[in-house]
Symmetry: C2
Subunit: 241 residues, 2 copies
């Protein structure tokens, strides 16, 4: 299978980078083809901007999503975006590897999301959730954070469930484009743990990677078959997510 | 009072920018002092990186939050970050003005959050939520989106409550640093509405700005007095958020 790892860390010697390297090694050894977009190493530009469109449909007034459609279909979208979209479309699994900044991805990865998840390709009109443009592909978040797991282990924990804090990413982004979102992998409390604990996180992650193509994805979003054409719930539909 | 508007839109003629301009005009006319950080106009660099620290504490291995503390206390943090922190510390109210990209802020604004909300100043140790470093200041999200309000108006709507999608921002970011977070202002379905509807959003926003210093903030996070020193809930604490 083909795997794209989108990785972002400002420190090449970070533990997050060690997790990314462990994934490359494990997946390659298992016979998969792995591509890495190492955003800091690439100097990826995260800013969605007018200059992303060399031959805009409307030079006087930019609507980013409309220009994405136009630029992609005309082949005039920014070359760095085009290269990433091609990697994405070739992948069976996309792994997002990053340190959690503010209960989300670092800005450089947010910019990859803003610029690469193209309208007209990944979503658009009523193509989202179970009708999203990337249906059939899988996504795995593999992230590190300073917090401890018990700070996120239920409604009485200090921050509430981590999946709630990451709802915008797991459901609102990866689920929105139709990806099958797997249970995330977290490296908890990373700046404060010892080498044995770090080793255990790496070993658990490597073991987990054996099941990423076969395990059942999370059940994050409703089926659009429960909604009418303007996305109002149908009478009698039982919507629980 | 002093107001800082952090604004991000790639299109100077956008409706989001018109909302920002309406806020500047209304708040200034009411006698407040308004500062605007217009991130696209400033060419703000959103990437958290080693070069943010001219005289790092540890040149060989960067831990971003530790270098933020060191760089701020030594005055050697990147000048663009220092300027924004000073504006933030001077403000009584911070307005975040942006189009919602992927149920979050655009990358250029995520980078403002990543780089400007300094460890050691805005948070650090057990200084978060009701002990956050920015206690006593207020925050207002004023955002536009393509979706309609009914897509977010309850658990059976297609996306669920908008506050849940924005939990990482409202609670996990603005609440985390101790800001009093106000009920957000949304410009719904903006690309598709007519001038009369746009005018109504602007008029409602202007009217709303009259109460931003007196209205009761949202109740987004628990009190740390319900947790022990390592943030485990105290026996008998009733934690409902």
């Amino acid at each position: 299978m083909k795997v794209l790892i989108v990785h972002a860390h400002y420190e090449p010697r970070s533990f997050t980078t060690a997790m990314k390297d462990a994934a490359v090694e494990t997946l390659t050894a298992a016979g998969h083809e792995v591509e890495v977009s190492d955003l800091y190493v690439m100097g990826f530009d995260p800013v969605a901007k007018k200059a992303d469109f060399a031959e805009p449909k409307n030079p006087d007034y930019t609507v980013y999503s409309l220009e994405q459609r136009h630029g992609w279909s005309n082949g005039t979208i920014a070359p760095d975006v085009k290269a990433e979209v091609e990697k994405l479309l070739a992948a069976d699994l996309v792994i997002f590897s990053f340190p959690i900044f503010w209960f989300s991805v670092p800005a450089i990865m947010k910019g990859w999301i803003d610029r690469v998840l193209l309208s007209g390709v990944c979503f658009g009109g009523v193509r989202f959730y179970d009708r999203g443009g990337l249906r059939g592909k899988r996504a795995l978040v593999a992230a590190t954070l300073g917090g401890r797991d018990y700070m996120f282990d239920g409604p009485s924990s200090v921050h509430g469930p981590i999946e709630d804090m990451l709802r915008h990413l797991l459901r609102g982004t990866l689920g929105y484009v139709g990806l099958d979102v797997l249970k995330p992998v977290f490296g908890w409390h990373v700046p404060y743990i010892d080498d044995a604990e770090r080793r255990k996180i790496l070993d658990d992650y490597k073991a987990r990677l054996a099941t990423v193509f076969t395990e059942t994805p999370l059940n994050l979003y409703p089926s659009l078959s429960d909604f009418d054409s303007v996305m109002r719930p149908l009478a009698g539909a039982s919507i629980t997510r």
